[in-house]
């Protein structure tokens, strides 16, 4: 063990490097960690050198290898901590690289990855021991040092400061989840956290409990230790043996879970929980702690008298038999031993239902079971208030005659999805209001708003000859009012003209059904592969249909009646949208897919030249991008996502049709859309009615 005290494992000003930082979990957790404490100096991911990972404290540079990270970073900034998020099969290689190149600077490696083989785990232990690097894990959730406000890994979730307040308890847990849970519980006893540690839950825990206790003994902030223990391994026996031998000055409150594994002969979720030897069982661990403490497990109903004997026992600690007894047990220990509480006013741990609706059942239940709603704590109460105004759960059908999620009017202020229309008028654009009205959420940034606006502008017109413009002109020519002219425009668009975007969304959803696109505006590695597959599928379909003599289904929104003769064709309106996205340094994975698809169709011989990606494809791609997050989280129906591009086009084109109407009305002659008789052809011979 290299660390001399707990803060050696994690402290303010540590310089952290993250492996596989571009991965889904690593990038997400790094973002939150940087917000809590900006200590990540860089990351690495094979093949991703030169990229960046966004964070609230600026972009985190990504290098191709750990060695390159060291080479490109001044020596004074070399990482002293490493978090490993790589896939299981890559972890061994990553750790070997860290041990080889980083042995002069790296003190601790935290391995988050699970499903690492036990052989590799043992090898990691050996190579890191040889170069004096401590390893926490494998399969740890991470660690938090509350006094210095710094964490590694996902301990505390998205809001670590909410759960972890600086205080006197060090929490050491086999389960990552329980670190946060216990921290929340002990707050109700007036005790905050000094360190929250997830040991990892594989069979081999490379930083064993006894080592953590040795370090905790030396930590000035730590006055009490709370342990969460599961079956597996002999770590607790070794720790107890060490405490007995060398003495241990801090009381321990412990909860041992997992006896159900022995009683019911079932496996638990944690790999480390597999019960093998008698010593590794929950029962044996409970007995060992009880024997060390010299006092029976904590009973909440019991009145403990502050005798010298009790003091002596509690100075060692006490075991609890239910998790929610921890705050009471901690209170007993701190009161008996005279440990100062960290927080003055606290709320006891009790049942606090947020919502209760027991209906008829409630009337017949005993009083203690018929609960009443309690107080919803902040920040949840505020979030709830905000959410209740805008929350849509579109998949439960109900009578909607007098109800709407999209709009409201309380007689004072009209609202769109809860937002005041007057506020929107003053502060936001028409496009932002439309996005809100159609999707239930405001655009996430200026980029999204602008790119949506471009689709509306582009939809205005494609010249007077388009059938939708003709609709408005016909209506003007007949002497209709403006609204009728707009309807005429709208009635002249359909799934073939203008509404093809809806088909494009369906096609895109089919193509990306199993792709895990998180952010449609970020590069997606598999897009080329998806495009090639879609092109291959199309080719197969086309060949089969041709052989059978059937009409084959076209790919929607590829090709254009005007722009089609060059080797590589473009729709200029689509190019403006595509160009804007590129200039903004972003991407749209769906539009990117369309371009790659056009090329792939040419490459596999399905088309003679590279077809133009037309405006409808751009509209579909842009609006699918806007809808993507909600769609993926099932907060939006597929129908809505399919309809929106159609509506966007229709809105733009109805406005464009109005322009044609105004123009035609001012300058046209009456009935000038009438096709002269001389220009009309008959395709049927004259016939006589029978007498």
């Amino acid at each position: 063990m290299r660390a001399k005290c707990l803060r050696d494992l994690l402290k303010q000003n540590d310089r952290i490097a993250v492996s596989n930082i571009t991965g889904r979990e690593a990038s997400k957790v790094s973002y939150v960690s940087q917000k809590y404490s900006p200590n990540i100096i860089g990351g690495w991911a094979l093949g991703k050198g030169g990229e960046q990972v966004e964070s609230p404290c600026g972009a985190i540079p990504v290098f191709a290898t750990f060695e390159e990270l060291l080479r490109s970073t001044p020596k004074s900034r070399h990482p002293n901590k490493v978090i490993v998020y790589s896939p299981p099969e890559a972890v061994y290689g990553e750790v070997k690289e860290v041990a080889r190149y980083g042995k002069d600077s790296v003190e601790t490696v935290f391995i988050i990855t699970e499903h690492i083989s036990i052989e590799v785990t043992a090898k990691i232990h050996q190579i890191c021991s040889q170069v004096n690097i401590d390893v926490v894990g494998c399969n740890t959730l991470g660690m938090i040092n509350t006094h210095e406000k710094v964490r590694v890994g996902a301990v505390g979730g998205d809001t670590p400061e909410e759960t972890f307040r600086p205080g006197s308890a060090t929490i050491i847990s086999n389960s990552g989840n329980m670190v946060s849970t216990i921290a929340t519980y002990i707050l109700t006893a007036g005790i905050g956290t000094s360190f929250g540690i997830s040991t990892g839950k594989d069979r081999l825990i490379l930083f064993p409990l006894k080592d953590f206790l040795v370090l905790a003994e030396k930590d000035d902030h730590t006055k009490i230790i709370v342990l969460y223990v599961e079956p597996g391994g002999t770590y607790e026996h070794e720790a107890i043996e060490l405490m007995r031998k060398n003495g241990f000055s801090k009381p321990i409150v412990v909860y041992v879970a997992g006896e159900i594994a022995e009683r019911c002969k079932v496996s638990l979720g944690h790999a480390g929980s597999v019960v093998e030897g008698e010593k590794s069982s929950a029962r044996a661990k409970k007995e060992a702690f009880d024997s060390y403490f010299g006092i029976p497990p904590f009973k909440p109903e019991k009145r403990y008298h502050k005798t010298e004997e009790l003091k002596a026992s509690l100075a060692q600690g006490i075991r609890v038999t239910a998790l929610h007894h921890i705050p009471d047990a901690v209170t007993l220990v701190v009161n008996t031993l005279g440990i100062r509480k960290d927080i003055g006013r606290t709320r006891p741990l009790r049942l606090n239902p947020w919502f209760v609706h027991l209906g008829e059942l409630g009337k017949r239940l005993p009083a203690e079971l018929a609960l009443f709603p309690g107080v919803i704590l902040e920040p949840y109460a505020e979030q709830l208030k905000a959410q209740e105004q805008t929350f849509v759960r579109s998949f439960i059908r109900q009578p909607m005659r007098n109800a709407s999620h999209a709009s409201a009017n309380d007689g004072k202020i009209p609202r769109i999805f809860g937002y005041s229309l007057t506020d929107i008028m003053e502060k936001r654009s028409f496009t932002a209001a439309l996005i809100l009205y159609w999707t239930g959420e405001l655009p996430r940034d200026a980029f999204e708003e602008r790119v949506a606006e471009l689709t509306l502008v582009a939809s205005l017109t494609n010249g007077p000859g388009t059938i939708s413009a003709q609709g408005a002109k016909l209506s003007a020519s007949a002497g209709n009012t403006p609204n009728t002219a707009m309807i005429s425009t709208l009635s002249a668009i359909g799934l073939v003209h203008g509404g093809n975007g809806s088909r494009a969304v369906e096609f895109l959803l089919d193509s990306f059904v199993s792709a895990e696109v998180e952010d449609p505006y970020a590069p997606f590695a598999d897009v080329q592969e998806i495009a090639v597959k879609a092109a291959a599928d199309f080719k197969k379909r086309k060949m089969a249909a041709k052989e059978a003599g059937f009409e084959y289904r076209r790919i929607p929104c590829l090709g254009h009646p005007v722009f089609r003769t060059d080797p590589v064709n473009f729709d200029p309106r689509e190019q403006v949208i595509y160009g804007y996205i590129m200039r903004a340094g972003r991407t749209n994975v769906f539009l990117e897919f369309y371009h790659l698809l056009a090329q792939a169709l040419k490459d596999n011989g399905s088309t003679k030249n590279v077809l133009a990606v037309n405006l409808d494809a751009a509209i579909a791609s842009v609006w699918l991008g806007i809808c993507w997050r909600k769609l993926k989280e099932k907060q939006m129906s597929v129908n809505r996502a399919v309809d929106i591009p159609f509506i966007a086009f229709a809105l733009g084109r109805a406005a464009g049709g109005s322009g044609e109407y105004l123009d035609h009305n001012d300058f046209g002659t009456e009935m000038d859309m009438r096709v002269p008789v001389s220009e009309c052809r008959t395709l049927t011979k004259e016939k006589q009615l029978p007498q």
Binding site: H115, V120, A257, P353, F355, L358, R393
Partner: protein
Amino acid sequence: MPLRIAEFTFLEHLSTRYGIPTPRFLADSTDRIRIKKALEEWGGKALVKPDVLAGRRGKEGSVVTVTSSQEAIRELKRVSSTEVNGGIPRLAYLVEYIPAQMEMYTAVQYNTGFLAPSFTVSLQGGVDIEEVAEEAKVTIPIDIYRGLDAYQASEILSALDCPKSLNSLLSRLMISFWDLFISTGMEMAEINPWRITPAGGAYACDFKAVIDEANYKSKIPGLVFPEYPDNKTDFEEEMDAWNAASHRGQAHVSDLNGDLILPILFGGGVSTIITETLQAAGGSPMFLSDFGGNPPYERMLGTAKRCFEHKLGEAELLLILGGKANNTLIDVTFKAIADALISYVEEHGPIHMPVVIGRGGPRLVKGILSLKQTLDYLKLPYVIFGPDTPVTGVAEYAARLANAARKLKEENNEGEVSERPA
């Protein structure tokens, strides 16, 4: 759950490859002539053994000595259909009887004390190693890169006062045993006993091992590890298959044969604690579940649908409970559960049971609203807790509520304790 194998797989596939001598054996045969011939060749005495995962040395009662082909056939049939410690044998096989002047115990396993592999030897073989006195067994750590060296094996044997004439042979066999262990991605392997014949030959006469499926070495070309028949319920089997279908989000369940609470639980640690609390409080949970690991919508939907399909009809209370999640998106998981509940009702008709919910984590409020709206729509009574109420407190409450609901149901002739949907 790690994969376990027993002696029969060792005899069939592994012992020869690693040069470990074993008794001769005959499997899957009730052919009198073959058995008779084998018995003659083996000296007229053999053992009938079940191929079963018996855990500790619990097979003894079902291992039978036979001396005639008639007896062998009868015992092969009997043993193959007799449960051993709750396990059903895959088959029974006949194995040569090895006379012994001495028995030895050996095991290799990853040792949580050394954080490395360890090698254990005792010259008191044939019994559980826990029963052997400390001074009669030796355990040493093994360098994971260098492996077990013959001199180390020899030193252990000397320390145990092994007859010198056997030292060299047994040391070499221990190296073969280590080679088997490290080459096949094992977590633990035990040969117990080695039987040493009066003539000085050593034979591995029983074997068990745990395979680490996360180790690529466990994928041995041409070897498919046998599946042992087990007492899994249809529900467990379906969930096992569903769990194996994707690595995103866990879907593990173990039936507990409870009849009150259908628990949809999240988080390995927390789910264990909740289940223990439910049992202690008389909540009679139907199964142990752990559905954490940030399952995507489709995964959670499939998981919830399967649980409801198998268990909801019999449940008295639906419990959806987990700690404060770090990564799992609560709105996604809760929406999936809500949709599974709606689809269950659409298919099976209205249900009448209280629902108790407790959770914390990212996008909690959205998730709770989603479930609450569904429960309102289905007109189900509910109590929803946030992360400020301890999970075990919620579990205790749910257990009491489920019992009260059952009691009311029993009192009510019509068997209805909740509001009917309009």
